[in-house]
Symmetry: C2
Subunit: 138 residues, 2 copies
């Protein structure tokens, strides 16, 4: 029977885990010549195209900030803007093929996280999944 960690201890471990994961992500992104903000943006777009505004909301930053980030991604053909057919104020941003590949590669290259997860059994992965869902619900 393991001793029960205090909430503070768990907070600390959580912080450590987050730091490690984040560093892993940032470093994998840097290998592709991308900043973590750029890579985060690609991650959001991986599922579905989004308007500038909704990107800003998802990434919790100012809309004016997104302009620069998307500018730089677009300049490298990782992403492209497209005026919404239903509202001409809106610009929808979508991944290009290149962008899709870039973000997939980054995920594959997160070695620390990958090998960490490999240390879990199937049951443990299921349990971690469940617990994380409770702590960080969508």
């Amino acid at each position: 029977m393991p001793s029960i960690p205090s909430k503070a201890q768990l907070m600390e471990l959580l912080a450590h885990s987050v730091s490690t994961h984040y560093a892993d992500f940032t470093s994998a992104a840097a290998d592709m010549g991308l900043t973590s903000s750029q890579a985060k943006t690609l991650t959001v777009l991986r599922r579905a195209p989004a308007s500038m505004r909704s990107l800003a909301i998802t990434l919790a930053c100012d809309a004016s900030n997104m302009t620069g980030i998307i500018d730089r991604l677009e300049k490298r053909d990782l992403v492209h803007r497209e005026v919404s057919p239903t509202d001409r104020r809106v610009k929808n941003v979508a991944l290009t093929e290149t962008g899709q590949k870039a973000i997939d590669t980054i995920r594959e290259r997160m070695e620390q996280t990958q090998t960490g997860l490999d240390n879990l059994s199937d049951e443990e992965r299921a349990e971690l999944f469940r617990l994380l869902t409770v702590v960080f619900p969508r």
Copy 2:
């Protein structure tokens, strides 16, 4: 018996959890007028003073970068530099009382994370602790 999530699903959930925690931290820091880099630095110093170099290593950034971050923290009396008595090249950085309080306050104000953890039973917290230790060993 829960179905077993694929590794990709777990990676995704992990990314979501990390984002949420990181946003929580950043927002709590911003409430105190601190950037996340500044708050991260305070976190590292919470345990023990450290030299500029070791801070840079821990935070995975260039040493020249730390100069500016510590400059700004020192200007606000959250931290102070002190020449090492054993090696005059080295500057040891330590939290001031104010800095100690600031980082404690930030931790307390991470409400999303706090309430998330409150949703776990003691056993679940112990299990999450164990699993995270496996995935992200120190």
